[in-house]
Symmetry: C2
Subunit: 199 residues, 2 copies
């Protein structure tokens, strides 16, 4: 049932997406994305390994990834990313320290990748990259802020319900035990919450 589009069409759609997101002209957005190189990964492939300095940012064209801490053998989900999202261990990226997280594909994933070095080189020539970086930092800040706020103020059920509202699409593609981990509870707790809510 899916229409097979050319790589160019996909890229075009991503370009529009980026232009809108960062208030760029179509030309700037195209210039920006033309510096990325395409990477194709299979389900369970690792994009960033724990212990490696993350010096790259990906922009997902198609697919789904998770970014997780390893806490004594248990995965603790830090973030999910899907079509149109950027993915990186941005903490490692900024601080140049080894990543304490792992980024891995939950589905077959195609993404466009650019290195930190290339980004910095670009920023020198094209001032709009600096402004784009600022906006991106802002977005990352807002995301983290929302997450921290709900950890500080809400209980497990409230967090789950908010997730269902705010990221319903994601919640349907991701196994419940990973949702649980993202909400910082056990799968059993999610199961009981669902029962209580009779979903």
């Amino acid at each position: 049932m899916q229409i097979d589009r050319s790589k160019d069409n996909h890229l075009k759609s991503l370009t529009n997406h980026i232009a809108t997101l960062f208030h760029l002209s179509p030309q700037d957005a195209e210039l920006f994305l033309s510096q990325f190189s395409q990477t194709v990964l299979k389900k369970n492939d690792v994009f960033v390994a724990e212990g490696q300095v993350c010096n790259k940012v990906g922009l997902i064209e198609h697919g789904l990834m998770k970014c997780v801490y390893n806490k004594e053998g248990e995965e603790v989900v830090f973030e999910f990313a899907h079509e149109g999202n950027f993915i990186s261990d941005y903490y490692s990226f900024v601080t140049n320290t080894p990543s304490e997280k792992e980024i891995r594909c939950l589905e077959d994933t195609t993404l466009y990748v650019i290195t930190k070095e290339k980004l910095q080189t670009l920023a020198i020539v094209h001032p709009f990259i600096e402004s784009l970086s600022r906006t991106m930092n802002e977005r990352l800040f807002l995301q983290l802020h929302d997450r921290l706020k709900s950890m500080l103020l809400d209980d497990a059920q409230q967090r789950y319900q908010q997730l269902l509202v705010q990221r319903r699409d994601l919640a349907q593609r991701i196994p419940q035990y990973l949702i649980a981990s993202y909400l910082n509870v056990t799968p059993e707790t999610i199961s009981r919450i669902r029962k209580k809510m009779s979903i």
Copy 2:
């Protein structure tokens, strides 16, 4: 025992601090700070009220402030800020939405304040402001990241111990019940942790 310095000396010290923090030339740092206006607040004075859009950033010269959520009448500490720190509800600042937090002085506080509008005007004339904003966003991101990480991975005792190591100076100026709130536990829990650690 304290040496009484002139206002100019204080400002000079802040200017150096900012220059170092953001890799600015002394000239740029001075130019930047010259756009701020001094505000003097007493203990318990409100800097940002809940419900008001926060369109300003303060830089603390002397004193201590808290930034708190109000959760059903209970304060939940989001952040503390003291000498040399910037203070704002940056979420409200960026999104132009009413602040859900209150920022209030824990001690008599002197700070330098600049409005969002002025900052934006400045950025047009002086490109270094844009880069400074990016760096500031980055720092805010890293701060939130650390906090979220410890909420996800650590228990109350670990969070308390890390606070003692990372912000010992702060911990000594702030009542324990606010430390507790910052760590998202009750004062009783902190008291019991201290007993167990025999501090």
